[in-house]
């Protein structure tokens, strides 16, 4: 029982990272119809930025948690204005090439300056202990990540459903053409939404720095699973991406602990789930089939 509870908890913590990254990808895809392959690179920049802020400017974790998402969000907005928005009317192949190229450039810039070795980043002292849950104890930092992510997801959900901006974003995410027909200037919201998605990736990166290896390739490894998460949740579905993020975290943790005698299954479980979901619901769990244009 203790083991199961611990694995479940860990699965949710892994899932929190997937959910944050998938949420950003989902809003960006919804609004711009751009599959952002550079998302993992921004996650990496978030973690690396936190490391550079700490070692070169003495900026602690808590400040980095605000500075990096805001800074990367602004960088994202600049990139959207400069290059990304030129792609929205072109073949999706172009956006694949551009965002993939962007990933390589960002990774290599970091490599050039900091090498490929992982950089050290300590857990903030306030969160370095562990919390006793009776049956088992759990690292405080993991409890923090889970609580923080859940709060953030709730806040985003509230903003999307209870505010006017949220309504516009949601409408434009699901049916940009219809929204435009109602006289809403969808274009105005595209840049800030892109920045917001990038900011979330940066935030996930800062959160990862104390518990994961901080190196230029950390985003490239993770992003493959995040794409699977987005597809499972339903491309463009905001709720679906968060739910699938946590769900896949759980499935992976359970798979590793209970199917460890079948390494082939436990290593590919995410993709097995993805294949199963797509057979059953081709648009993903919470996605809707696109209306024919």
């Amino acid at each position: 029982m203790t083991g199961f509870a611990q694995n479940t908890f860990n699965g949710l913590v892994s899932g929190a990272f997937y959910a944050l990254l998938a949420l950003g990808l989902a809003v960006i895809f919804g609004m711009l119809r751009v599959v952002n392959f550079a998302h993992g690179a921004f996650y990496m920049l978030g973690a690396f930025g936190a490391y550079v802020l700490l070692t070169e400017a003495g900026v602690p974790f808590w400040a980095a948690l605000v500075i990096m998402p805001v800074g990367l969000g602004l960088l994202g907005m600049a990139l959207e204005r400069a290059v990304i928005h030129r792609l929205t009317k072109l073949d999706p192949l172009y956006n694949f090439l551009l965002t993939f190229g962007l990933t390589l450039i960002l990774q290599d810039l970091v490599k050039l300056r900091y090498g490929v070795q992982s950089s050290p980043y300590a857990t903030p002292s306030l969160l370095s202990g562990s919390v006793d849950f009776g049956l088992f104890d759990f690292p405080t930092y993991r409890v923090f990540i889970l609580g923080f992510t859940v709060l953030l997801c709730v806040a985003v959900w509230w903003a999307l459903t209870r505010t006017r901006i949220g309504m516009v974003v949601r409408a434009a995410t699901e049916r940009p053409d219809l929204t435009r027909a109602f006289g809403i200037d969808v274009g105005r919201w595209v840049t800030p939404v892109f920045g917001f998605g990038i900011g979330l990736a940066g935030l996930a990166g800062v959160l990862a720095a104390p518990m994961r290896a901080v190196n230029p390739l950390m985003g490239a490894d993770l992003i493959i699973v995040v794409f699977a998460v987005v597809v499972i949740g339903g491309l463009g579905s905001i709720f679906g991406s968060v739910a699938a993020g946590f769900g896949i975290g759980l499935v992976q943790a359970w798979g590793e602990s209970y199917l460890s005698n079948f390494p082939i299954v436990s290593q590919t479980i995410v993709f097995i789930v993805m294949a199963g979901v797509l057979l059953w619901r081709p648009a993903g769990l919470f996605g809707r089939e696109e209306a024919p244009a």
Binding site: G3, N10, V13, V116, S118, N215, M218, L222
Partner: protein
Amino acid sequence: MRRTMGVAAASAAVVLVAGCGGGGPQSSGDGKLTGDKIVLGVLNDQSGVYSELSGKNSVTAVEMAIADFTAKYGDKAVTKDITVETADHQNKPDVANSKAQEMYDRKGVDLILDVPTSSAALKVADVAKEKKRLYFNIGAATTDLTGKSCNKYTFHYAYDTYMLANGTGKTTTEQIGKNWYILYPNYAFGQDMEKSFSTAITAAGGTVVGKDGAPFPNTSGDFSTFLLKAPNLNPKPDVLGTMQAGAELVNVVKQYNEFKLRDKGVDLAVGLMFLTDIHSLTPAALAGTTYTDAWYWNFDAKNREFADRFQQKAGTRPTFAHAANYSAALQYLEAVQAAGTDDADAVVKGLEGKTVEDVFLRNGKIRAEDHRVVHDAYLAQVKPQSEVTEPWDYVKVLKTIPAAEAFRAPSADCKL
């Protein structure tokens, strides 16, 4: 007539003996060297995961060897024209294969050095065999280089999986704890390490109470499932042996500390670790961890003198791979000097069975049977943060593992 013949033969013999023993030909350009020069090739990872532990600093180490050799022999050196060629194999076997061919055929390389990543290393061994040119592997761990893939022109220098398992597995079992839980990345290197470690632990009277192959690459970056399982096994393991490398090792150690396994009575032993790994994790995160080191820069005055010179050029302390590259280049040049030619067969003949002492090879011997270069190895332990008094001086050597014990006996699979 017969008498003159005898005198001529005798004087020829004298000249030859003097030539071999006394420092070689007096001048170059006598056709003993191909192209009248020696070209050393460093083939390794120059931008990827292994670029810090060897990479461009291995080239620096080889250049130091050339400078030391030239300074030692001066005008008596077999040649003063010694150059270095380098190439990036990106840890890919196919790239390593074509780069090695290019080095031997087009760049006139006499000896290829380094080549981390076992799969790439084995490809280069095939090329060396085919081209009949020399190859000293330093960066790769597979015992196949001196086992079923051994050949006349390939030598394996610094370390291998047997040395790591025998050192860390055996000594940790004897000194720290009998019960082990082994976590390994589920691919060729990890599986090989797991087998070698299990054998060494059992032979030392220990037990492997559990072992798990973690997904490789572990895309989630999370090892908590395995780390949480460890203290709950029955019987409880005393040691967690991790075979992960690079960024995955960093993840395992970060999370090992997060779950406070040391406080729960589970010590950490690492299968393969380089000085650069300790630097990136910080000694605080690894304090108390034991591992096997092929060489340590601050072990004694001789090593430190080399490390100081290296730091002046490279800006960092040398890993064992850097020191081994230096030693390999130096011993090759000495062998060419002694043979008076860079002809591969003659150099191999001079190297086989030779005993060597230098800054890297202590009680070193180049085994004739399988071309394994054996030498003393060390069981090392990462110091607690309070004992770290200067940058890069992160470990203390607990024990010297004598050369005769550190490496396996020549394998029956190897037919040179």
